[in-house]
C-alpha cells in the first residue's frame, strides 16, 4: 500500500516539531555553564537518570501534584497525557504484532484502522482493538472535561483560568479536535470495513445509517491528520511546549542543575516548561488588591516573548505561594529575581563610603535589622533576654551598620548587595563569634544563603531563644492566652523554619492552628520585594489576612518578623506581638513574682 496523501500533514508536522525541539535543546544546553554541562555528562549514566524517568512518569504523565490540588483536574490531565502516551505505545505494539516486525512506516501505526481495513482476528487482534478503543474513550472523557472547564473552572477547584494568546488558541483548538476526529475517522472506517471495537463500531454503524460513508472516509482521515499537523506546528508558539520541555526540565533538575543569579539555558527551559495551567493565579494574594496581570504565569509568558515590563516584574511580593503550588516545580521566585538582576544591572551602587572598624570580641553577634529598629520593643526584648541569659553578645547594628543586603537583592541590585555583604561579613568574622542571631527573617535569609560565614551558625531569634529555653537559661511559664502564629514568608517558605517558633510559643501560650499556615501561610502584604505596589493596595492584602485571624478570635497575633508586626499593627485592634516580646513578657513577670514582696508602708508609718 502506498503512503496515502492525507498522512502528509501529520508527517510534516511531526518532522517539524522534532527538529525544532532538537535545535532548541542544543541551544539551551549550550547556554548552560561549563560546570553544569560537566555535571550532566557525569550523572547521565548514574541513578539520577532512572529517578528522572520515574519522575517523568509520575509528574509529566500521571500528574500526581495536580491530583493533590484537585482530583477532577488531576483526572483531566492524566487522561489526556497518560492516555495519549498509552495510545501511541499500544498503537505501535498493535501494528508491530500485526506486521510481525518493528520496522514499518510510522503512519501505519498512527492510521492503523485505515491502513488495515480487515477486522481484527485472534485473541491479540481483539485485545488490541478493545484496548485502543478503551484508551480513546479515556482520552475523550478528559477532552470532555477540558471543554467543561472552559465554562466552569470552579468545578475543578480553580477560581481563575489563564487568558490565552493566539498561538495557544490555535493549538488548543487542534488538541480539542484531534481525538473527536480520530473517533469519527475510525468510526467511518469501521462502518465501511467492520474493523472497529466496542466504541468505534457502534459509532461507525450510527454514522453509516445517516451518512454516505464511502465519500467521507478520505476527508475525515484528512481532517484527523491535519489536526495533528496543526497541533505540532503550533506547539512552539503555544503553551503546549511544556509537554516536551517539562521532561527536559525534570532530567536537568535530577542531574543537579539549579537556578543561577543570571539568565541561562536552565532559565529558558523553566520558562518554556510553564503549562500556563493557572494554578498559581489562585495562590496569588495580589488578587486581593485587584492586581491581575503580574502573576507568575503572565510574567513567564512575557519573559518567553521578551516583552516583560518593569511594572509587571516588580509588582510581586515574592512571597513564594505560587512556587509551592506549581505542578511543574518551576523556581518562580528565583526566575523573577534573576530577571530583576538583569533589568537593574546598569545602576548598581558601589557604597565606597563603607568603612570597616575593629569589631569587639564576643561569643554571639546580634543583628537586629533595619525593620527591627522600627519596632524597638522587639530589640529591647531581645537585649533583655540576652542579658538575662548572660550571653556574651555584641549588638552589631545597635547604633549604625549597613543594611543586610536582602532588600537590594529582592530589588535585583545583586552587585550592590555584594558590597554590603562583604562589609558586614568582615565585621562578623572579626568578632570571633560562632553564632549570629538575627531578629528579622529578611536578614536571616541573606545571612544564611549569601554570606558564606564559615563556622558561624546563623539563627533566627526563634531558634536561638528555643535553644536557650532548652538549655534551661530562660524560664518557661504557660499562660492561658490563645494566639495565632503568622509564618513570615522569608522564614517559612523562604527558609523552611516552621516548627521552632511553634515549639517556643508552645512553652508560653496556647497556639491555635489555622487553615492557612506553614507552607500555605499568607504574606502580610508588607513585603519589601514589591517595589510597585501602593500602600492602599498593601492594606487590602493585609486586611484579607487579618480577616482570617479574626475568625479564630485570638487574644494575640504572634509573628517572628518585625515587618509583619508593623504591617499588622496598623490594621487591627488585636495585639500583635513578636515571639521575643512574648518570651520577655513571661520571663519578666516571673522575675517580678520571684522577688520578695516589698512591704507596703501604711500612711501613719511614713516618716515625715
Amino acid at each position: 500500500m502506498e503512503t496515502p496523501l492525507f498522512t502528509y500533514p501529520f508527517s510534516i508536522g511531526l518532522m517539524f516539531i522534532v527538529s525544532f525541539l532538537l535545535v532548541v535543546t542544543c541551544i539551551w544546553l549550550a547556554a548552560l555553564s561549563k560546570s553544569d554541562r560537566k555535571l550532566i555528562l557525569k550523572k547521565i549514566p548514574g541513578p539520577a537518570s532512572l529517578k528522572a524517568i520515574g519522575e517523568t512518569f509520575m509528574e509529566a504523565l500521571l500528574h500526581r501534584k495536580i491530583f493533590r490540588k484537585n482530583p477532577v483536574l488531576g483526572y483531566m490531565h492524566t487522561s489526556l497525557a497518560f492516555g495519549w502516551f498509552l495510545l501511541i505505545v499500544v498503537g505501535h505494539l498493535e501494528a508491530a504484532v500485526h506486521y510481525h516486525t518493528f520496522s514499518f512506516p510510522l503512519w501505519k501505526s498512527i492510521f492503523f484502522r485505515y491502513a488495515e481495513p480487515a477486522p481484527a482476528t485472534g485473541f491479540a487482534g481483539h485485545f488490541f482493538a478493545t484496548s485502543m478503543d478503551f484508551l480513546l474513550l479515556l482520552i475523550l472523557s478528559g477532552v470532555g472535561l477540558a471543554y467543561y472547564k472552559r465554562f466552569n473552572s470552579r468545578a475543578f477547584g480553580m477560581k481563575k483560568t489563564t487568558q490565552l494568546k493566539v498561538g495557544d488558541r490555535i493549538a488548543l483548538t487542534a488538541l480539542w479536535l484531534i481525538f473527536p476526529l480520530r473517533l469519527i475517522a475510525e468510526g467511518v472506517s469501521a462502518g465501511l470495513h467492520r474493523n472497529g471495537s466496542f466504541l468505534t463500531q457502534p459509532t461507525g454503524n450510527l454514522l453509516a445509517a445517516i451518512l454516505p460513508l464511502p465519500l467521507l472516509e478520505k476527508p475525515v482521515w484528512w481532517a484527523y491528520s491535519c489536526a495533528l499537523g496543526v497541533f505540532f506546528v503550533a506547539m512552539p508558539v503555544s503553551r503546549y511546549m511544556h509537554i516536551p520541555v517539562e521532561v527536559l526540565l525534570i532530567f536537568l533538575r535530577r542531574y543537579g542543575v539549579r537556578s543561577q543569579k543570571h539568565v541561562n539555558g536552565y532559565t529558558r527551559v523553566q520558562v518554556f516548561s510553564c503549562s500556563r495551567c493557572g494554578i498559581c493565579l489562585d495562590s496569588c494574594q495580589m488578587n486581593h488588591a485587584n492586581i491581575r496581570n503580574t502573576q507568575s504565569v503572565y510574567v513567564l509568558k512575557q519573559i518567553r516573548g521578551r516583552r516583560l515590563s518593569d511594572e509587571q516584574l516588580f509588582n510581586c511580593l515574592l512571597c513564594g505561594r505560587c512556587q509551592k503550588d506549581c505542578p511543574v516545580g518551576i523556581d518562580l521566585n528565583d526566575i523573577r529575581i534573576t530577571q530583576r538582576i538583569e533589568s537593574t544591572a546598569e545602576y548598581n551602587s558601589t557604597y565606597d563610603y563603607l568603612k570597616n572598624g575593629p569589631s569587639p570580641q564576643a561569643d554571639v553577634v546580634y543583628f537586629a535589622g533595619c525593620m527591627t529598629h522600627l519596632t524597638p520593643s522587639i530589640k529591647k526584648s531581645m537585649q533583655k533576654l540576652l542579658n538575662y541569659a548572660q550571653v556574651n553578645y555584641w549588638f552589631m547594628d545597635e547604633h549604625k551598620a549597613p543594611c543586610c543586603g536582602r532588600p537590594l537583592i529582592q530589588a535585583g541590585q545583586l552587585e550592590a548587595a555584594q558590597k554590603l555583604i562583604a562589609n558586614n561579613r568582615d565585621k562578623i568574622m572579626q568578632s570571633g563569634a560562632r553564632t549570629l542571631v538575627v531578629s528579622c527573617p529578611i536578614c536571616y535569609k541573606v545571612f544564611s544563603e549569601d554570606y558564606k560565614l564559615p563556622n558561624v551558625r546563623v539563627m533566627h531569634h526563634a531558634e536561638y531563644l528555643l535553644e536557650l529555653v532548652n538549655q534551661g537559661l530562660l524560664p518557661v511559664h504557660n499562660s492561658p492566652k490563645r494566639v495565632v502564629y503568622h509564618d513570615p514568608c522569608e522564614l517559612g517558605r523562604g527558609s523552611g523554619i516552621y516548627d521552632q517558633p511553634r515549639q517556643l510559643l508552645g512553652q508560653y501560650v496556647e497556639l491555635i492552628t489555622m487553615k492557612h499556615e506553614k507552607e500555605d501561610a499568607f504574606c502580610c502584604g508588607g513585603s519589601l520585594s514589591n517595589i510597585k505596589i501602593s500602600m492602599q493596595e498593601r492594606d487590602r492584602i493585609r486586611d484579607h489576612v487579618l480577616e482570617e485571624f479574626q475568625q479564630y478570635r485570638p487574644d494575640q497575633v504572634v509573628t517572628a518578623c518585625p515587618l509583619c508586626k508593623k504591617t499588622f499593627t496598623k490594621g487591627t485592634e488585636v495585639e500583635v506581638r513578636d515571639l521575643a516580646e512574648i518570651v520577655w513578657e513571661s520571663v519578666s513577670q516571673q522575675i517580678i513574682a520571684a522577688q520578695p514582696p516589698v512591704k507596703q508602708l501604711e500612711p501613719e508609718e511614713v516618716p515625715s
Binding site: 545602576y347 533595619c370 525593620m371 547604633h399 532588600p407 537590594l408 554590603l420 508593623k566
Partner: protein, 114 residues
C-alpha cells in the same frame, strides 16, 4: 564671614533656563503617590545610610523638584533600599519605587549623553 560663625549660603533662586523637569514628570507619572510628599523629613530622620554618611533623601526630593538633577546620581547611590523611609512616611509614599525610577532614569539620561 565664616570666621565669625556665619555660613555663606548660595542664592537659591530657581533658574528656569537650567530647569530639567523630565525626570520629575516621569517619576510623578509612574509613582503618583510622590505628588503628595510634604517634605516632612521623616524619611531622612530614619534613614539607615544617613547614619553612616551625609545622605539626605528629603534634600534629593527638593533638588529633583527644582529640576537640578546633576549630581543626583552620585547622591542616590548611597541609598541601601532598606525601606525604613517608606514605613515611616506619614503620606504612605512608595519611596523605594521613586528611588528605583530615579536611578533608572538617571542612567537613561547618561546613556543618551544629555
Amino acid at each position: 564671614m565664616n570666621a565669625f560663625g556665619f555660613k555663606l549660603i548660595e542664592p537659591r533662586s530657581i533658574d528656569f533656563d537650567q530647569f530639567d523637569g523630565r525626570l520629575l514628570n516621569e517619576i510623578l507619572e509612574k509613582e503618583p503617590s510622590f505628588k503628595i510628599c510634604l517634605s516632612c523629613g521623616g524619611c531622612t530622620a530614619t534613614c539607615n545610610a544617613g547614619t553612616l554618611i551625609d545622605f539626605n533623601i528629603r534634600k534629593m526630593n527638593l533638588l529633583l523638584r527644582r529640576g537640578e538633577i546633576t549630581g543626583l546620581a552620585r547622591e542616590i547611590d548611597k541609598c541601601m533600599l532598606c525601606g525604613k523611609c517608606m514605613l515611616v512616611c506619614p503620606r504612605g509614599i512608595n519611596i523605594r519605587n521613586v528611588i528605583m525610577l530615579l536611578k533608572k532614569g538617571l542612567v537613561q539620561y547618561r546613556n543618551e549623553n544629555i
